[in-house]
Amino acid sequence: MSSLSDRKGALGLGFAIALLVLMAATSASAETLLMPKRDYLMGASEVVWGVTTQANGTNFVLDYGDGVQTIGNVADRSYIAFNHTYANSGPMTVQLCVGPGAVIPGCTGELTSVVVNVYNGASLTPEALRGLNINRAIQNGLRYLWTQISGRAANFPASNFAFWSNQSYTALVVLAFENHGYKLTNNDVAATGLYEKYVVQRGLNQVINGLTSTTLTVQTNLGSPCVGPGIEAAPCVGFEDNSGSPGYTTAIASLPLSGSSALARHVGANPPMNVNVAGKTYGEVLQRILNAVAWNQIDGAAGPNRGGWAYGVANNSVPSSDSSVVGWDLLALFDGEAAGATLPALIKSEFGTNGGDANQHALDGHRNNNDGSFDYGANVDEVNTDIGRNLARNAIGLQGLHFVGELSGPRVDLTVAEMNKYMGQVETPPAGSGYACQINGKYNKGCGYGMFNTFKALKLYGIQLLPGVNRPAGTIGDPDDWYEDYRDWFVANQTNPTSTAGGNWSQPTFVFSASANNDEGETALAELILAPVALIAPDPGLFSTVGLSPQTDTNPINTPHTVTANVQSSGGSPIQGATVGFNVLSGPNAGATGTCNPVNCTSSANGLVTWTYMGGPNIGNDKIQANIGSLLSNVVDKFWVIPTGLKCDADSDGDVDNDDLVIIRNLNGQPASANPAADGNGDGSINVADYRYCSLRKTPPPPPPQN
């Protein structure tokens, strides 16, 4: 018989085992996540937040990394959010511990952490402080979109879908997250990361599950819309989004798929998806949507509407083309092409005027050649000044020119000049108006649809400066930089960015369009404009491994060096409209500035951006990295050396002789940049040691001539 104390010991051991088993079970099934890594401003009240799949009421500790903690019971497990003011700057490790008796340190529940950067505004340059505030605005806006997931608190974490007001806003929200770098992997591996798993994956589920099948047939002029690998010949199955007017909702539904960089991923069995899409790859789903977009292109009899798009499906009929719808369909085709999808061969020429017939098509039907504007209707009315004409439509017209390959010329210049008339202007929509964009016909700052189309058009053409912008005095950057003007405007007009419920862009300062007013859609548009890409972000895996080249290069000091960023989709298709940053991380030229080609560092049709900087006088190894927003490229090496062939040959005559020594003598005390060859020993300056070095390495005199 065992003693009481033995039994107590046995009971204690049993309890410990049970606890371990319980903990293991909890760890395996539960999940606690913090917001993604981000930047904060010291001294400002900032929102720090996370989620847990453990039950509401569970103990938690949120440790801000600066010695301050918030302790309590989880009230809303889908949004454990608190305001905190950092008194110090530097990297801070935020930790969230959730579980019975949660404590930090020594968390025995679920513990997760993220390192955030807190900056002291007083120690930053004005440019850096502005950049910080832009980053804060982006993160606060994305957080707002998180809070607005329909039924978030009630459905988290069980739901496999995420929804924002309607299918189209949902698609735009997902694209916004993708364009800020939150993407799925290009395989069937389950998503990880708070935004990737709960926003992007579930948002894509929502968009994909909302698609319906339709039969696509051969069109009179376009031919077959059934293109792309694995797509059956006409008649084929296309996918449409009929949640609204399929002329544009179908186009918008394609956007998050194009932006996913995950076209090899499969629509899985869990959650159960509609039978139309189940089991298909995202690439196939995208292709079938875009085929429907092509099928929806106005076809049939010649005329100014042909090649355009209307609110309804057009298949071989000739409804009136609507320039707003055209804008969304063009975006779908731009993004889809960048993602590597196939477009019917004639879709561009059908839209433009080079389709082989003598009649004007939609591009010219909408376009006013007198002033370069783009009318609401494709009526070939050159004197039309109806209220439909505005900056948004002009920008769609400019995109149209780009779509048909008209990258320069008088028509482009005329439209840009027309757009310039609207630059710098601000909409002042009255509260409660659903048509605020239309009040004074400007469609610029304050009108989401106008700003978004302007953003796309000007980025695609690589236009950075417009004289009409005329930013306020004291702003940072070029006074004619329209995009910096936009970014300043967004930072200044975000609603309650540092409140747990805020971070949105909303009426009365910002509305979606002339016919829509929705905070989620508006915030999605703002986030899309604040993203570093006009269309879609590149494949993260490719960009982080081979995005920058050459991987290694060696050149003489005091010469220029050029690196090339390659912005490409997962299938290798070039992506235009991505703004690339470059940074010499370390080495003799750390922090160097350089110049881009294209000059605004935005990728053109080939997806490439080059950056050239001048190597200084010092030898060594520069480490260089490119970035598209928070997406980082591979790090490449540049080795700067003294050119062997030139060493000591200060007069570049092919030998080292007294003439070279005289030059070195006269350059005594100068930096190597004065004459790199004169810095014979390569220590960065020209001095007596180089004289000695080179005198020991003089070219032997030629042998005397033989008789």
């Binding site: 005289v662 005390g669 000695r692 003089k698």
Partner: protein, 231 residues
């Protein structure tokens, strides 16, 4: 002891003290003698001496700018490496050119004096090293003439941009941080009218120095009085 001698003594103390500044293994480049007094119109010379080279250091070339007050002193002549410790001057240090590529004095014997000298190209490093460390290594000898009364500092100038003023045998820099620099001065003072020429204008002696000077002056006065009494 005269005031002038007291000043010399103090300068010597300062020099000795300065030679102990820095690490024990550091080389020293100094004006020798550190201070001296000459009459107007008289000539004198100074050496620029390098001591304390480490076992791995051999001077292959040097570049020095000697600064002085060219109102008080006239530069006369200079000789680089008078002891030929950078190789025989009969040996070439260039195919056809000289070892000495100094710019010399500025026009009219004025300041500064630019010295730039390269060791010959045939003497082995080990031989040069033995020569340079076996006895005082005089980099250069410079002669001056006193022009007018006054105290001229002698400053071993190494323009900041030069960075390097000593090259090793192979053409790599000998680190400046391992070298202690000791400057000097020449006082031009008429012995018939001894005065305070040897105190730099504007220089305010420290109280301790003043007391030493006072003690020296008192001793000199007392000694003169004793001599007068004996006479």
């Amino acid at each position: 002891m005269s005031i002038r001698n007291a000043a010399r003594f103090l300068a010597a103390v300062v020099l000795v003290g300065a030679s102990f500044v820095g690490t024990a293994q550091a080389s020293t480049i100094a004006i020798v003698p550190g201070s001296q007094t000459i009459a107007p119109g008289a000539t004198t010379g100074i050496d620029i001496v390098l001591t304390g080279l480490s076992a791995t250091e051999t001077v292959g070339a040097f570049s020095i700018v000697l600064g002085f007050n060219d109102t008080i002193l006239d530069g006369l002549t200079f000789v680089n490496d008078p002891g030929q410790k950078m190789g025989s001057k009969a040996n070439p240090c260039a195919v056809t050119g000289p070892c000495d590529v100094s710019l010399g004095f500025a026009a009219g014997g004025n300041a500064p004096l630019d010295l730039f000298y390269n060791a010959d190209l045939v003497t082995p490093e080990a031989t040069l090293h033995a020569l340079q460390t076996g006895a005082p290594f005089v980099l250069a000898h410079v002669d001056f003439r006193g022009a007018v009364e006054g105290l001229s500092p002698l400053t071993l100038g190494f323009q900041p941009a030069f960075g390097t003023f000593l090259s090793d045998f192979d053409g790599d820099a000998i680190s400046r941080t391992s070298i202690t620099v000791v400057n000097g001065s020449i006082c031009v003072d008429d012995p018939q009218t001894p005065g305070d020429r040897c105190v730099a204008q504007g220089e305010v002696p420290e109280p301790a120095t003043l007391s030493l000077l006072g003690a020296g002056l008192a001793a000199a006065v007392a000694r003169r009085r004793r001599k007068a009494a004996k006479a």
